[in-house]
């Protein structure tokens, strides 16, 4: 089979559109995961033992079961309990929850890397716990978390093809559809691979410079 440039050009607009969807899925999924992950991490640091244990178990569960199962679960089991969600909504919930579990561990590591002395200094100038978190602890927890957060950003992006199983119109789904209609898979799959490669490399570089920037900005060398 020979590479067909004309076919490539023909399918390019559709692939481009699918790339936008993929980026959107990764972006929305990551935004959900980033916020929910912080909530998971903080919930494990409260005085309430039962809350800590429950959240721990949930995080453990989400990390130990396959993402694709979680996607199926939300999409197909939901309706049996009267919760019918569109593929997009179900997919975003599943991927957001899954990565929230991973990100909560990154945050926890970052928060725990801040020394006890910082908390004591917060008490000594009488900051409230919320002020201490917001002004002192979380800003210092950020630089050591950036690398891990970046890794999961790339992971989530690479996991978006799993959304094709419930019919979210992202890159993989588009490539499959184009391939099926035209009996040509070489071009669409190659384009998918290239798009992933380019965006992953670009993101990795971006994350590295963000990490350096944030360290400099926070005066931590």
């Amino acid at each position: 089979m020979q590479w067909d440039w004309q076919f490539t050009v023909e399918i390019l607009p559709r692939m481009l559109w699918a790339t936008v969807n993929t980026l959107m899925a990764a972006g929305i999924g990551y935004a959900i995961a980033a916020v929910l992950g912080l909530i998971f991490a903080m919930a494990q640091r409260t005085r309430f033992r039962s809350l800590t244990v429950t959240v721990r178990e949930v995080v453990e569960f989400l990390r130990s079961t396959p993402l694709v199962l979680q996607i199926f679960f939300v999409y197909y089991v939901g309706p049996e309990y009267g919760v019918s969600l569109s593929p997009w909504v179900a997919g975003m919930i599943a991927i957001g929850l899954h990565y929230a579990a991973y990100l909560s561990e990154v945050y926890r590591g970052g928060i725990e890397s801040v020394s006890k002395g910082q908390w004591e200094a917060c008490t000594a100038i009488n900051l409230s716990p919320a002020q201490a978190y917001r002004r002192i602890i979380l800003p210092q927890a950020l630089p050591p978390s950036v690398a891990g957060m970046g890794n999961y950003l790339i992971s989530i992006f690479k996991d978006t093809p799993m959304l094709s199983v419930i019919g979210v119109a992202e890159l993989m789904q588009a490539a499959n559809a184009i391939g099926g209609q035209n009996y040509r898979y070489l071009e669409p799959y190659t384009i998918v691979g290239l798009v992933f490669l380019i965006i992953s490399l670009f993101s990795a570089a971006l994350i590295r410079s963000f990490e350096n920037w944030i360290r400099r900005k926070l005066g931590m060398y």
Partner: protein
């Protein structure tokens, strides 16, 4: 639960101390760190705590800063209970809200400075006044600059802690604590982590505070010369108890207890 009914809800009378430890007990599990501590510090007084490692010196300061809870007795600050709060006419352990108000008259400097590394010297000193005291940025900046000048750090006000020497960081930490206008200042071995040649720049700042300001101070140090110079009273701790306390002259030249004598000669030999 201990019976707290015999403890006054408030100290009254002509000479209420700025700080009073009343039958204070501190344990970690079965290990008794401080047993039945009674110690008064008068307003404006400079009291230095000395003693061997593990005798409970740091614990005394940390309890006063409310970094540790106590297991018995009551601590009063400025006549009001610190570790407890009045409820239905008796004292009960203080809740977070009460503690937050009660500790506002206390400031502390630590052995390892604990400056906020992501903030400049100036920002370190403005943080508490802006966030906690509700000062405007402008007021807080003026106050911080005044204090940084006092500790000789105004030229470095825009530097982050990573760019400052230990002595400089400790001076900023002192300014940060003072910016909260505490009535009581606690110093826990503030020169122990410093190179010998910069110890003087920190002790001079503290000496200045003693002579020019009417602060009540409680200090832990291993520098006997410094303690002798500036303290009104020295407390020698041993095994979680005050073994002996006296004016610096008396305690250093004429210690009464054998353990004090042993400790002082051991320290002298090490110097």
């Amino acid at each position: 639960m201990q019976d707290l009914s015999s403890y006054p809800l408030e100290l009254t009378g002509p000479d209420v101390p700025m700080v009073r430890f009343m039958n204070v007990r501190k344990t970690y599990g079965d290990f008794v760190v401080l047993d039945d501590l009674n110690l008064d510090v008068a307003a404006g007084e400079m009291v230095t705590v000395i003693g061997p490692s593990g005798s409970g010196k740091t614990t005394v300061l940390r309890m006063l800063m409310t970094l540790e809870t106590i297991n018995g007795g009551v601590i009063y600050v400025d006549g009001k209970p610190l570790t407890h709060m009045p409820k239905n006419g008796v004292l009960v352990p203080a809740d977070a809200k009460y503690l937050r108000k009660a500790r506002s008259s206390i400031g502390m400097c630590f052995q390892h400075f604990n400056l906020f590394p992501h903030m400049t010297a100036l920002e370190n000193c403005m943080e508490g006044p802006v966030q906690v005291l509700g000062l405007s940025k402008k007021e807080a900046r003026e106050r911080a600059e005044e204090l940084l000048s006092m500790v000789g750090m105004i030229e470095k006000k825009d530097q982050h802690p990573a760019r400052l020497s230990g002595g400089q960081q400790q001076r900023v930490a002192i300014a940060r604590a003072l910016a909260m206008r505490p009535k009581v200042m606690l110093f826990d071995e503030v020169t122990s982590a410093l190179d010998p040649e910069v110890i003087g720049e920190v002790t001079n700042v503290i000496k200045d505070l003693v002579t020019k300001h009417n602060l009540t101070m409680l200090m832990v140090t291993h520098q006997m010369g410094f303690a002798r110079d500036i303290s009104d009273r020295i407390c020698f701790f041993f095994g979680g108890k005050i073994e002996e306390q006296n004016t610096p002259e008396e305690l250093f030249t004429n210690p009464q207890k054998e353990r004090t004598q042993q400790f002082l000669s051991a320290v002298k030999a090490a110097d």
